[in-house]
């Protein structure tokens, strides 16, 4: 790939991910079909089977799916600068919108009717999070170990000041330990 081609691709990556960033409301899994259409179907940058692997991989490392996918695809298509261009592209739309909102938010919320609307919105947010919670239980908790971890994490996070950082590290360690014990038990049964 010659230099000219590479920069053309980097520019294109920025534009494509800018568009993806501008149209993903609420973020998360909603943008997966959108990314697939742009990256696989329109631009043929990545093969159909590979994109599925990419989505699986970027979900198993820290970060937001949209941003992680952008960085991964950008790196694959045009190296480090491709990753930089894609990351900037996908973040920039929300950066512009949110910083504009944040600048005016305090004065905006001083308007009585807006303040009342936001009182209502708070209750709506509680409903949204409960909905997300109920939808995620089935794919996330497979057995009693899962339920135990979920309950312990809930209690610690709700009633103590322990940081989520330690809670997550402990959960990962528990997951690894339990998996190894299970593997060992299976081996012994088999033997």
């Amino acid at each position: 790939m010659n230099e000219n081609d590479r920069w053309k691709k980097i520019r294109k990556l920025f534009l494509v991910f800018f568009r993806i960033g501008a149209f993903t409301f609420g973020g998360g899994l909603a943008m997966i079909p959108f990314i697939k259409r742009e990256i696989v179907d329109s631009n043929h940058w990545i093969e159909d089977e590979e994109i599925v692997d990419i989505f699986a991989m970027v979900q198993s490392v820290p970060g937001v799916i949209a941003v992680n996918s952008a960085i991964f695809v950008g790196y694959r298509v045009a190296g480090m600068w491709g990753a930089v261009a894609s990351a900037f592209g996908v973040v920039l739309p929300s950066f512009i919108v949110i910083s504009a909102i944040a600048l005016f938010f305090s004065s905006f919320k001083k308007i009585p009717v807006v303040a009342r609307a936001f009182e209502g919105v708070n209750a709506g947010v509680a409903a949204l999070i409960l909905t997300a919670l109920l939808q995620l239980i089935r794919p996330s908790i497979k057995d009693n170990f899962g339920w135990a971890i979920a309950v312990v994490v809930f209690v610690i996070m709700s009633f103590t000041d322990v940081s989520a950082v330690y809670v997550l590290l402990a959960s990962a360690a528990a997951g690894i330990t339990i998996s190894y014990i299970k593997g060992y038990m299976k081996m012994r049964k088999g033997a």
């Binding site: 991964f72 929300s94 910083s99 708070n122 959960s171 990962a172």
Partner: protein
Amino acid sequence: MYKLYLELLVTFFKIGLFTIGGGYAMLPLIQREIVRHGWLTFKETIDIIAVSEMTPGPFAINAATFVGTKTGGIPGAAFATIGVVLPSFMIVTLVAKYSAQFKDQPILQYALYGLRPAVIGLIASAAFLIARTTFFTASDGNAGIFVGLQNILNTINWRAIIIFIVAIVASLKYKVHPILLIVISGILGIILYSV
């Protein structure tokens, strides 16, 4: 000023590093960090969730930009946003480079076996803390603290509970889109808090 920029960068780097499971999973961490630094009150963090649902972009990024702007203007927003994206950038480029080896690592799957249920606990805790703040009115705008039964009854916010019930039925039974749900709760808020 530079101290604030650095603090924003470091705090959101930490948040970015521990953003696992996406969406609402990191709410407790993000909210606690923001409140601990005195950047926003707990109640204001709920506003960001609402704003974030109605605008493009994931919550973790939007929270970084919002808090950065409010505390340190546009440069503050840049530091906070770069901070939250940086861990992903470093990790994902490594994964992209060595993905062949990465895919066959069972240890990662084992860790996720523990992390996925943990995410459920985190989201449940976020829902609980937000419900507590929303359903019980505390004068300081922070999480309500229960002192005695009469106090609980006196501080129950009936309007919020009515709006919550309407919203949860609309969401679970009629699958109303999140943006529309926020608009509906806003309109209900205007009506109920005016009477």
